[in-house]
């Protein structure tokens, strides 16, 4: 059993560490909130999700739309993650996310087509985002391999010609 434990330890240490993010953003919390009288939408922060190639990750100004003033929440307690947003702003620093879901340079998988035209819901590809309390550390299974793309394209009758998705 000791050998087995050692084997497991060695194997796990070979896996990459989860990447650090400047703010440990809680999707689950934010997706339950309202803004401007309506439920928060993915495009409030991922502005390109319907019309652009990439959904994009928010700039600091997107966070500051709400968090310029402390948002204390139901428990009336200041959240250190939330204060970090203002700290970055007053320090004039950038919000540099570590991008987890990134296609290689030769892949063209535009949100414009998948979300804007084919009207896929975000969680169909990205998984159960509403359950994420911390930022993802890996891309979801669905988005890791070309075979996943091809399988879904075949199932829905979308083009599987090389030039459609490669550039």
């Amino acid at each position: 059993m000791r050998c087995a434990a050692l084997f497991v330890l060695v194997a796990c240490s070979a896996a990459p560490l989860p990447p650090a993010q400047p703010i440990a953003f809680d999707h689950a919390l934010h997706l339950q909130l309202d803004i401007d009288g309506r439920r928060v939408r993915c495009t409030d922060c991922h502005a390109g999700a319907e019309r652009a190639e990439h959904a994009g990750l928010p700039a600091l100004r997107d966070c500051l739309r709400c968090h310029m003033r402390p948002q204390l929440g139901a428990k009336r307690i200041a959240n250190p993650r939330e204060a970090r947003v203002r700290e970055l702003a007053t320090g004039g620093r950038a919000l540099r996310w570590t991008q987890i879901t990134r296609n290689p340079g030769h892949v063209y998988a535009p949100h414009r087509v998948h979300v804007g035209i084919a009207k896929l819901a975000c969680d169909e590809c990205h998984g159960d985002v509403a359950a994420w309390t911390r930022p993802p550390t890996q891309p979801v299974e669905r988005l890791r391999r070309m075979s996943e793309c091809i399988a879904c394209h075949r199932a829905r009758g979308a083009s599987v010609r090389c030039g459609t998705c490669h550039r």
Binding site: R112, G116, R145, M146, R154, G157, A158, V160, R161, C162
Partner: protein, 258 residues
């Protein structure tokens, strides 16, 4: 991640299977993308060739590199000397001809080049194994090979166009009719719930957009109302090496030396 090596291992049946078009859901009308280059408007300024380099991340090699005559080039400016003594030379901007019956597609052993149903002769960098049969087959010599690994300094890498992948050593490359721009324009039109209009297509590729003389027109040759179809029907229109039966999609309009 499916690497090129993985692909080659299962090349056989999978090549054929993957290259066959899937049964398509209702899609926009099929087009025949083509180009008309009016030699009577062309001033010879070379802007088209440079716009193509900028758009497609074509690497530059220095003057003293051992790369004579083999630098990657997609849109070339060819000076054709006349046969008749005393006549004047002709300058031809030469993109890929996107032949309707392309010799290059027939010889590619791995399906890295194929005919898109919309008329563009596609070149897929990631499938290419660098055998260069297509370069031998092309009668217009429109294909370039990456003899070296392209490299950009840390500063120059900033200006690379994110819409076009860079190609590694060992890959053949050529003009794509700015397929990435065509895709984006088509998607944006569909998103807006309308068809792509001819006016949006006329200066869509980088070369056509840059040309100060508006000598290069792009569009759907099968659309009788398009500018490119109208120009291609002009009495001044001709194509290169027509006797070979390649059916190029690029038409030239004769320089009118009247």
């Amino acid at each position: 991640m499916t690497t090129r090596r993985d692909f080659l291992r299962i090349a056989g049946a999978a090549t054929v299977a993957a290259a066959a078009p899937a049964t398509a859901a209702p899609a926009p009308r099929r087009r025949h993308w083509g180009m008309v280059i009016d030699l009577d408007r062309c001033a010879g300024c070379n802007a088209c060739a440079i716009a193509c380099r900028q758009e497609n991340n074509i690497p530059s090699y220095a003057a003293d590199a051992t790369y004579q005559g083999a630098r990657p080039e997609w849109m070339s400016m060819l000076w054709q000397e006349p046969e008749r003594a005393g006549a004047l030379p002709q300058l031809l901007p030469l993109p890929c001809m996107h032949c309707a019956d392309p010799p290059c597609v027939k010889v590619c052993p791995v399906g890295a080049t194929y005919k898109d149903p919309d008329g563009i002769t596609m070149q897929i960098w990631d499938r290419c194994i660098g055998c260069r049969y297509c370069m031998v087959a092309c009668p217009y010599s429109r294909r370039s090979f990456n003899w070296s690994e392209p490299a950009w300094s840390e500063s120059e890498v900033q200006m690379l166009n994110p819409d076009v992948a860079t190609r590694p050593r060992g890959v053949v490359e050529k003009c794509t009719f700015c397929h990435h721009r065509v895709k984006r324009a088509g998607e944006e039109a569909r998103l807006a719930g309308r068809a792509l209009t001819d006016a949006e297509c006329q200066r869509l590729p980088a070369c056509a957009a840059a040309c100060p003389a508006e000598a290069i027109t792009f569009g759907d040759l099968d659309d009788p109302d398009s500018k490119v179809a109208r120009l291609a029907a002009s009495p001044r229109a001709f194509r290169l090496l027509e006797h070979l039966g390649t059916e190029p999609s690029v038409y030239y309009l004769e320089k009118d030396r009247g």
